[in-house]
């Protein structure tokens, strides 16, 4: 068991090293530019709208950059190893195939985690800078002790949005969604050989996943009218995760208070789903001809 963990760790380390040495983390600089440029460009809104804008741009950018990394990265994990034949070196060593697969998965997941953490730090940084600008505007630079009750109330309003603890929930869910997407792309890469196909299929599953709840509730009724559409809906309902669950992220960012119980429910759904997909990937990969 311990040996197994060490081998998974070795593969994960090498996968992460490859990404880092290819300077993938420069994407953080891109993110910083997007955040700073867009927040300057729209700086003349009321603080309510401005924070909403910054939060939406931030979460959308984290999602897009994260999804691209997860899909493109995972689509290449196995095919590139086979193409470069580096997999022969690894798999001729006393390593179980599922250890190799998990190592690859967690290597990329570590990269995604580093990216999400880095982007979150930049994101909070931009939010805090804007908070300070607004507070300074309202209080004209006066010390906190000299604020009028009206100023205190306005500053409280601003802090309520800029120091919203819900943003941590949002980032946690963003991360869980990326982990799930990565596992799906990895599953596809154990059956398909073309990276382009895997990326394309991952995108399609991601989009269809947002319709899963509709398909799940409607397939039986649709079946009575149009059995083909009904059967198609049923397949979606059974095989695709419900990505619409994560749309709660937008509400959290809009200032809605969501209970940790609910957030952890979505989180555990996502993690559990990821584990099932990884298990299936491992079983398929076990029989793969290299």
């Amino acid at each position: 068991m311990k040996g197994s963990l060490l081998r998974i760790q070795a593969v994960a380390w090498s996968t992460l090293m490859e990404a880092l040495r290819q300077k993938v983390l420069w994407v953080l600089a891109l993110f910083a530019v997007i955040m700073i440029a867009s927040s300057i460009y729209f700086a003349d809104f009321t603080f309510e709208r401005e924070f909403k804008f910054i939060k939406d741009v931030g979460s959308a950018s984290i999602s897009v950059l994260g999804l691209l990394t997860a899909m493109i990265g995972a689509a290449q994990l196995i095919p590139t190893e086979i193409e470069r034949r580096t997999i022969y070196t690894t798999m001729s060593k006393p390593v179980f195939r599922f250890e190799f697969l998990l190592g690859k998965y967690f290597g990329l997941l570590s990269l995604i985690t580093l990216m999400v953490l880095g982007m979150s730090v930049i994101f909070f940084g931009v939010v805090l800078v804007h908070e300070q600008i607004y507070v300074a505007e309202i209080t004209a630079g006066a010390a906190a002790a000299d604020w009028s009750p009206e100023q205190v109330r306005m500053v409280e309003d601003i802090l309520e949005q800029s120091r919203d603890f819900g943003m941590v929930q949002a980032i946690l869910l963003l991360w869980a969604r990326l982990a799930l997407v990565e596992s799906i792309a990895l599953l596809l890469s154990t059956v398909a050989t073309s990276s382009i196909f895997i990326i394309f299929a991952s995108v399609v599953i991601y989009i269809i996943g947002h319709l899963q709840s509709v398909a799940r509730e409607a397939w039986a009724e649709v079946m009575t009218e149009n059995w083909m559409l009904g059967a198609f809906s049923a397949v979606i309902a059974w095989l695709v995760p419900n990505f619409q669950s994560f749309s709660i992220i937008d509400e959290i960012l809009a200032g809605e208070t969501i209970s940790w119980a609910y957030v952890s429910q979505i989180f555990s759904y996502s993690v559990f789903y990821t584990l099932i997909v990884l298990l299936a990937s491992g079983l398929i990969f076990e029989e793969r001809e290299l």
Binding site: R7, A10, W13, S14, Q22, P94
Partner: protein, 290 residues
Amino acid sequence: MTDHPNSAVRAKGLSKKYKLEWTRRSLIALEPLDLNIQEGSVFGLLGPNGSGKSTTMKLLLGLIKPTEGEAHIFGYPAGSMAARKTIGFLPENPYFPHYLTGAEFLNYCGRLCGLSGSDLKKKIDQLLERVSMTEAGHRRLKTYSKGMLQRIGLAQALIHDPKLLILDEPTSGVDPQGSRFIRDLMIDLKSEGRTIIFSSHLLEQVEAVSDEVVILDRGRKLEEGPLSDLLTLPGKIEIEAAGSEAVPLEEIQKVLEKEGMKDVVVRHPRISLEEYFIRKVKNEKKAKKG
């Protein structure tokens, strides 16, 4: 364990067919092959491209599964963890993770084999020394020449002290000096009691190191046996002597023909071009140093 305590590799009816997609036909990569390789011997796999050499090696490593038949490595089923623990493998045209340095790559391979800590570090230094790569060890693999890659590849194959080495074209694309280095290393490894299976299309090299060979063509075994048996021309003898200036060559020929020998050829012995090249380069180096 097996009832043949001295056999390193035993294969019975080992064969591989690939089903061609979209058609009913299949491609025969290897026809049923029997092998019995003695522990401590050097075994050469000969044959043109596509003759089944690499397929045989992949089958012994468990990278692909045989269509029929079975193979055992020191009594363990081919592809099992126990079997792979005993094998060091150098793939053909090795593509190693080019973003790692030589030492990092060996570290990665060592960790895959369950080594760690100071033992691993000592082993890495020792192996880098053995393949004369101590200085290049901290450089990234992408800066390596073909010969250096082949040498680091041998080092990684040796990281867990395997009893059996499987080397796929260990000298292809390597300059004569490098080629000689690898050949000498193979002879060294044999003297340490290791079994070596290797493939090559440089027949001269095979001749220099092999105890036994098998010749494959289009997946079929054409010939097998100890090199001394295969290459000895029955009914012919060879005489080598020094001091040829003293007796004219024609005289010797006449004497031998008088004794009833036929097809007599007398000439000055020649060394191989490789031998000549190596000697020349060595002399040049000595001259420079002097």
